[in-house]
Symmetry: C2
Subunit: 235 residues, 2 copies
DNA sequence: GAGTGGTCTAGACCACCTG
DNA sequence: AGGTGGTCTAGACCACTCG
């Protein structure tokens, strides 16, 4: 954990605990720098990320202002579902449609796989995500089984695949490539999302890049945006 | 124009001109630093932004790799349509449905307006955006007329509203707040996009933040994602 | 005019990649 | 083992905000 991450997480917690409230100004960079015995650049790095994630507003000559959080899903970032909403006051929950299992890679896959990946079977899982007890997202996930079969043996750490990959295999998500479309939901998808068949659904296809060469995680997300829209991280 | 922006734009041009080709490694930060008499931090800032915008891949211990660009619309960034695709080889074109005109703000608006904004009427315009002669996006734009009525007098600089705002009033876009949904296109929208009525359409509502306090630009975008999906800037 | 954020320079150490 | 990117420190100047 780097210094800027530590500071960033601390300020996030202070925002969610109400220690810093929306509209309030954070201490100056100079102050945070002295206070924490950090260089101003390190402080700035933390504040820049808080800005990109939509927590604060920055303006030259003025201290950083805590922003009123909107009731939106910050799904465009590449954090996992649980992380995105971890600090939120929304009640979230996940349920398996398909627990992690070993399967062959589908013949036609939505990203092109490397030869290395095709040699191994895949781990597949499918989950439905609830927000305030409403199903908002159907998520299908694949990754190369390789030497990661032990991941099937017990439930995910804190319900998060990414947390589990990190603690079990020291794998971290570094980047994501994603495409977004509006599509008609098929019958099965709409059933799970509890909307009428053929209703528009936001479709995201994702390839997560990790710190392990040639190991990627792939996801297809089907999101019901009738109730909740999806907001961007700012930058 | 800051040093890191100059360097960033220069490298972008070198990528699009084919001077750097996909798969190729850029010179090291140290080299670019010496070459341009810039500090390594300044070089890094440029490379970080190129990474976020999806032009290069960065990996510790290895020089930055130029990425194969995908035929996708980088619409999630807050750049204008023309800027996004300026370096692309795709043919783009815009046409007015409604040329800029002065109107009253709609009674119900998709973002909440400040009292200051409501005092003034709005400039409204509506455009249809073509990619390779296919209509891909319908865009409605509003902003406070204020002292900016001269903007109605002549065509936009290089067809870009944002460029015009910058050269005429020194206004720069600093940030964007946007929401994304999948909706059923209404009849009018689908007609313009040349798709069947009720087809799913990607809907983005945007509030652009500028360097001028209390001056915002608002847009509603309706995107046909059947042919082209929308990709993220990475970070 | 004091406080503050944005940019830039100079230099250091570490972790990772590649021969 | 040398090259390279990621993090961090120390210090500087400028442009903007606000009382």
């Amino acid at each position: 954990m780097h210094q800027y991450e530590i500071l960033k997480e601390r300020i996030k917690k202070q925002i969610f605990s109400g220690e810093f409230t929306p509209g309030e100004l954070l201490p100056s960079e100079q102050f945070l720098s002295n206070e924490n015995s950090l260089n101003r650049h390190t402080v700035r790095r933390a504040l820049e990320e808080l800005h990109r994630e939509g927590y604060i507003r920055r303006q030259k000559g003025r201290r950083s202002e805590v922003i009123q959080r909107h009731p939106r899903l910050g799904l465009l970032s590449f954090k996992g579902f649980s992380e995105v909403l971890a600090y939120n006051d929304k009640k979230i929950r996940s349920a398996y449609i398909q627990e992690p299992e070993i399967i062959e890679w589908p013949e036609t896959f939505f990203f092109s796989l490397s030869e290395e990946e095709k040699k191994q079977p895949a781990v597949f899982l499918e989950r439905i995500r609830y927000l305030e007890e409403n199903p908002v997202m159907l998520e299908k996930t694949w990754f190369s089984a390789g030497n990661k079969k032990s991941i099937l043996e017990k439930p995910f750490e804190r319900g998060s695949l990414f947390t589990t990959l990190q603690v079990s295999y020291n794998i971290e998500i570094k980047d994501v490539i994603q495409d977004i479309r509006a599509i008609k939901g098929d019958k099965r998808t709409c059933n799970h999302l509890q909307i009428n068949s053929q209703e528009p659904v936001l479709y995201l296809s994702r390839k997560y890049v990790t710190n392990m060469p040639d190991f990627y995680v792939y996801s297809q997300l089907y999101v019901n945006t009738h109730e909740y829209s999806i907001s961007n991280d700012n930058y």
